[in-house]
Amino acid sequence: MSEKILFTKEHEWVVAKGNIVRIGISDYAQNELGDVVFVDLPAVGDRVEEGEGFAALESVKAVSDVYAPVSGEIIAVNEELEDSPELVNESPLDKGWIVEIEIDGGAQLGDLMNEEEYKAFLKEA
């Protein structure tokens, strides 16, 4: 798999390196959410199933789930978000990453969009 960024319809981004994917939320998503004030992170070692909410972002407006684009095991969480949830707003694609998941053997990344397709998807919505 390549290292290029892919997007889900739920506005997560995914960057895959081998069988490990890093996940965050898109710039559009952080803008819609408003200021994030708390990130409820999963524990390293937790199992996640594709389509399942595995973390929650609490903003001044609402609490929203972050959905797993793939089944696997959480191997890292961005602990900096515990003290600095604003990173999700300030640097959604970089310092605001949320978790890394090791993909189950044989599991496939769901139907994801590349950057151009995602931009087109946002225009439609």
Partner: protein, 484 residues
């Protein structure tokens, strides 16, 4: 409104100043360290404000003058039913025969209070079209919890332990999924269709042997009546599930349609919304639930029953137990009872008809100025969207803040979640037309300001004691305790 900040009472403190004088001790003085083990004693002196009585009175009086309440002005907070609470309720609740009774008194000495609870339960059953009431839950979400416990007890009692899912629409109140989680149910979300109602076709695919029930507010949080409710009830019942009616929006349907007739098995009422008892900080609330005959045996207790002309407490046969100390919030029952009796059945119907008329009047008066995502007759409230104003760099939050400058409480914003930049307005039946017209005028003015002078909105409020608050930092790094 006082346009200045008021210091904390701690900041008014002067060392040595006293607001009280205790009588001389007439018993031997024993050091506290001899009475309480040392490890439980605090070492640090507490920093209590040292102020005179007059300073205390002035401090809280000043604070009270910057309060906003329905007694001060229009309070269009959607989904909250901030109607006027008649003052006669307070007179009744202050009658010594009600105010001074104690929950440990023998039942024989509080027959009047028990009769009131019994009658209120009967009236709520009549209004809901269901059979049996428990008054115990202390608020709406507590009622949800109690209702879901009853649903769970019903399935368990039948030996059906595999039902683990409750279906909830995407427009639901956040308390619905939270209550499910508290009871140990998993939430399955059903989307809304283009009319803002439950997507019945999707629902058909979601129900099954795991379905314990469905929670619905009708009218829903968009202020829209779900016309497919009979079909929805049939689909859920055929799958073996029960229907829970979230009574948050019951102010729209009193005396017009009954949840029991729509097919619901459990209903909660927010007495502090629909039946005009004090609300929010003025609580406490009460969230009685009413259930079908079959579910009565599972109700939380104690409930009041009538036996040979006497009223007494009893626990339903397979009760889920107690969920509240003693008998719930009795004086709230009293006020709701007074409200029901003083209106009568025709009066309650008029309450809902007027609430619905008011909401439609305001919705139609504003739809040219704000995007109306669901353009159909609404019930007691309606949802606008701030998406037209977004083009000018103005968000719904800014519109809400600007309303404060004009002296109003803001409507509910960013809820329901399925409407972008939502603005939810509920005028209630108690407002005169002139108040609604003034508010409509201000909302139109703000729409114009958003276009011509967006800065006015994005920097609002300017006329309040504190300007725009940094809500994000307050939530991220809250200061919860005063220190020097």
């Amino acid at each position: 409104m006082i346009n200045k900040t008021i210091p904390l009472i701690f900041e008014r403190s002067t060392p040595g100043r006293l607001g009280y004088q205790l009588p001389n001790l007439d018993v031997p003085e024993i050091p506290v360290s001899e009475l309480i083990p040392e490890e439980y004693l605090r070492v640090e002196e507490p920093e209590l404000p040292e102020v005179s009585e007059l300073e205390v009175v002035r401090h809280y009086t000043q604070l009270s003058r910057i309060n906003y309440a329905v007694d001060v002005g229009f309070y269009p907070l959607g989904s909250c039913t901030m109607k006027y609470n008649p003052r006669v309720h307070e007179d009744l609740a202050a009658l010594p025969g009600f105010a001074n009774i104690h929950p440990y008194q023998p039942e024989s000495s509080v027959q009047g209070a028990l009769e009131l609870m019994y009658n209120l339960g009967k009236h709520l059953a009549t209004i809901s079209g269901l059979e049996a009431t428990t008054l115990q839950p202390a608020a709406g979400a507590h009622g949800e919890l109690a209702g879901l416990m009853v649903i769970k007890a019903y399935h368990t009692h039948r030996g059906d332990g595999q039902r683990t899912e409750i279906i909830i629409p995407d427009s639901a109140h956040g308390t619905n999924p939270a209550s499910c989680a508290m009871v140990g149910y998993n939430v399955v979300e059903v989307p809304s269709n283009e009319r803002g109602a439950v997507d019945v076709e999707v629902l058909k695919g979601l129900v099954g042997p795991k379905t314990a029930g469905l929670m619905l507010t009708n009218p829903n949080t968009l202020g829209l009546f779900d016309e497919n409710i009979a079909d929805i009830a049939e689909i859920v019942h055929d799958a073996g599930g029960l229907l829970y009616y979230d009574g948050a929006n019951a102010n729209a349907i009193l005396g017009i349609v009954r949840p029991g007739d729509m097919g619901f098995d459990v209903v909660h009422y927010n007495l502090h919304k629909t039946f005009s008892t004090p609300h929010g900080g003025g609580g406490p609330g009460a969230g009685p639930i009413v259930v079908s005959e079959e579910l009565a045996q599972f109700l939380p207790g104690p409930v009041v029953h009538k036996d040979a002309g006497c009223y007494c407490f009893s626990m339903p046969e397979h009760s889920v137990g107690r969920i509240c100390s003693f008998y719930g919030n009795f004086l709230v029952y009293l006020k709701a009872y007074a409200y029901i009796l003083s209106h009568g059945s025709d009066g309650l119907r008029a309450v809902s008809e007027t609430a619905v008329l008011h909401a439609n009047y305001m919705m139609r008066s504003l739809q040219e100025y704000y995007h109306l995502p669901y353009d159909r007759i609404c019930m007691h409230e309606f949802v606008l969207s701030g998406k037209w104003q977004r083009e000018y760099g103005v968000r719904t939050l800014d519109i809400a803040k600007r309303l404060l400058d004009y002296g109003y409480h803001a409507p509910t914003v960013y809820f329901p979640l399925n409407v972008e930049e939502a603005i939810m307005i509920e005028p209630t039946e108690t407002e005169p037309k002139s108040t609604m017209d003034e508010f409509i005028e201000v909302m139109r003015k703000i729409a114009k300001e958003a276009k011509d002078n967006p800065e006015l909105l994005t920097s609002a409020p300017q006329n309040t004691p504190l300007k725009r608050l940094d809500e994000a930092t307050a939530a991220r790094k809250p200061i919860l305790r005063w220190s020097k």
